[in-house]
């Protein structure tokens, strides 16, 4: 086995220092000999904190590790080459792992618009809070850094690997190598890194240098912070006075408490730890469950999508923006006779199939518009009838003809969305079997009943 000091690292030096420091920390300086691990641990658990806390750590660490066995335990079996090929799909910065194939910018645009643009926008500019993929150059030092493939990502291999591994969202690993090459080429084009005649392949891969390739450095907290953050702590007369500099309640971006309050209790006063009394801002807020989300949408406007972290970008100024009213999400009032109750078994089967729709659509209590419109009462609902949803022209034109989402219309659409309704923004390949279609309709009918 490789000892820690043999470890190669792309940016060595700093890493070695950290590694050595870690090694010291996990090794007890004085490991007490304990015949019985259980006995050794018992005093640690009961010792008062001010009695040699160091000793507690050492005792805990002294427990013997699960033993290695010379030559191993003889468990498991050898992996076959076909099995490794099926799972080992990772790509490295040096191009290791790239399959044969190629893709050009124009093909990439076609595939991207069909499979990616619903969330990322036709030009990688992002829809809603989904990640922006293009531009943002020169923003990394600003108040509002825009981290895209072009402005931030240090390695092209990461784009290929991630698109192939996890995209399109909800239909992972469905793209062919040529499609991934083409999408990657288009992303380079959108970030003004290549011309429109560029073809990406295993061979041209190494020619591309990412603009922010030198923008990263190895964790240096050990030297940059540790000294300042391990000074003697002041205990008395540490400052003359204290002022509050900023209040969170001014922003009012904390979600409301859940509407399903605990049952009435004789001891409600002392049991009520839900904090509704504690938050002055909440007394003015409407208690309706959906409102919390709707109100905070405004605050989230500047937050880049996906990782919760990026929400740090929802800074004070933006969060103070006036809350918007919740879009009315009620099902349109139709005089139609209520459809027959769906078969519960069929609906249950449909719930699993609906997982493929959930990336863009919500159905059920509190459903709101996402990338796609909410689907409550979709069966026998007029086309394009959800207020505040920005439908494609294809949908609004069909609505103008008075079309209604009957079982037949839904079936045709779900089998082949783009073929059935040319110009729809819904980027979904379609469900293959009528059985699946019936099931998912039954699920939407039962979950989204008024």
């Amino acid at each position: 086995y490789v000892a820690a000091n043999q470890m190669a690292h792309p940016r060595d030096g700093q890493f070695a220092a950290i590694s050595a420091a870690n090694a010291q920390e996990v090794t007890p300086q004085v490991a007490p000999q304990a015949d019985d691990a259980a006995q050794a641990e018992a005093p640690a658990e009961t010792a008062a904190a001010d009695e040699a806390p160091q000793a507690q750590t050492q005792i805990a660490a002294a427990e013997p590790a699960a033993p290695s066995r010379d030559g191993g335990y003889g468990l498991g079996r050898e992996a076959m080459p076909e099995e490794i090929a099926a799972w080992d799909i990772d790509i490295r910065p040096d191009g290791a792992g790239l399959p044969d194939g190629s893709g050009d910018v124009w093909t990439g645009e076609e595939v991207f618009v069909e499979k990616c643009a619903a969330c990322h926008g036709d030009f990688g500019e992002a829809v809603g809070r989904w990640p922006q993929l293009a531009m943002g150059m020169g923003t990394l030092q600003s108040q509002d850094p825009v981290k895209t493939v072009g402005s931030y990502w240090p390695y092209l291999s990461t784009v290929w690997d991630y698109v192939h591994r996890a995209m399109p969202f909800g239909e992972a690993q469905s793209l062919s190598p040529d499609e991934v090459y083409a999408i990657t080429a288009y992303l380079l084009y959108l970030n003004e890194m290549v011309e429109d005649d560029f073809v990406l392949s295993k061979e041209t891969f190494a020619d591309v240098t990412m603009p922010n390739a030198d923008g990263f450095f190895m964790d240096d907290r050990e030297t940059a912070e540790y000294g300042a953050f391990s000074a003697e702590a002041c205990m008395e007369n540490c400052k003359d006075s204290v002022e509050i500099a900023m209040h969170a309640t001014v922003l009012d971006v904390t979600p409301d408490e859940p509407s399903d309050a605990p049952p009435e209790s004789e001891m409600s006063e002392s049991n009520d730890m839900t904090g509704s009394e504690a938050d002055p801002a909440e007394t003015e807020a409407d208690a309706a469950p959906a409102d919390g989300e709707a109100e905070t949408q405004a605050a989230a406007e500047p937050a880049q999508a996906e990782a919760p972290v990026e929400t740090a970008a929802a800074d004070a100024g933006a969060a103070e923006a006036a809350p918007t009213e919740a879009p009315a999400a009620e099902a349109p009032a139709t005089e139609a006779v209520a459809p027959a109750e769906p078969d519960p078994e069929l609906a249950a089967a449909g719930e699993r199939i609906f997982n493929r729709c959930k990336a863009c659509h919500q159905v059920g209590e509190g459903a709101t518009n996402r990338t796609g419109p909410e689907l409550n009462g979709i069966l026998d609902r007029p086309f394009a009838s959800v207020e505040d949803f920005n439908y494609s022209t294809a949908l609004t034109e069909a609505a103008a003809e008075g079309r209604v989402w009957t079982h037949e219309e839904l079936s045709g659409f779900l089998a082949d969305p783009r073929g059935y309704l040319k110009g729809t923004k819904m980027s979904f390949a379609g469900l293959r079997s009528q059985e699946d279609i019936d099931a998912v309709i039954a699920y939407m009918q039962s979950a989204g009943a008024p």
Partner: protein
Amino acid sequence: TPDPAITDLSQQPWTQYLGDGVDARPYGMPSPYESHVIRRDVPWLTADAVSSVNFTPLHELDGIITPNGLCFERHHGGVAELDPGSYRLMINGLVDTPKVFTLQDLMRFPRENRIYFLECAANSGMEWRGAQLNGCQFTHGMIHNVMYTGVPLRLILEEAGVKTDAAWVLAEGADAAAMTRSIPLDKALDDCLVAFKMNGEALRPEQGYPVRLVVPGWEGNMWVKWLRRIEVGDKPWYHREETSKYTDLLANGKAREFTWAMDAKSVITNPSPQAPILHGPGPTVLTGVAWSGRGSIPRVDVTIDGGITWHQARMSGPSHDKSMHRFYYEFDWDGGPLLLQSRAHDSTGYVQPTKDMLREVRGENSIYHNNGIQTWAVNEKGEAENVEIT
């Protein structure tokens, strides 16, 4: 007047009438009076619940162990629902013999039981630019502390035989994000576990059932859930979660990468915005949790006057390496306003910094790894609010 809760039998039906027999709840659930104790999310944080996070209700818990159903969730492609019968773990790359293990195979290796915290690198990330969310559940709830049962990754790698030029491993999940992270080999051989139990029972689906990786003290994103593959290599892979995400952008536009160990941190869980003081002046229990990715927490200081005077808190409960620790500070509340803070010291001598000390070094764009000291302002009514102070 006598308390009818004592004197009036009709108000104590449990005393008069029989309750449920055994098996009424084959898998036990909390009392209905505890139905408000749940994980919560902040919907505006993310584009979609499938790739999102929710938060552990720290203000409702005590001791150091997080109950399984309350451990915060973070998924990148939703919860994968794996069938344990078809579960496989593959080891490949720079090894003498690439291997495949079933769950049954894993259960035949020697096991260890360890209590570790798991903190998301983004915990408190919404607070970099100032006080924003009102409640320790939201500011500090991307953490849980659980006892894992698992096989040292070392034993599984030994089974395949790691080649001498190996220096890194890549851990990969079976979910729809096929989550990957590069981990240095020395960490993999040191204390990482391939775990299948949490707090004694099988992992919950949302925590990686049937098998997850445990990477003690290091950022939660590396603890790959639904673990399906470990590849051994000589260089890091620089995948999405270690370049585009989970890197710390500093004020000068450069970003730190591979910031694995979680710095020492603490938070007062009670009182806090979701847990106000309801009892009025008099004896008051202040409590909170502290942890460090570099060791244990021998000491926590607490102030109730905004940092003019500090008091050493009382630690209570087991003190384990890279585990959560519980502290208490009991005082007589005079009914006046309070400014509460806690400050953790870890076993390496690191002292939890103020938010301003962190901003001095890192600016405000870092997003991840915010371990600054948290302040709660308590008013005369006992209500608490998330604030920043001078």
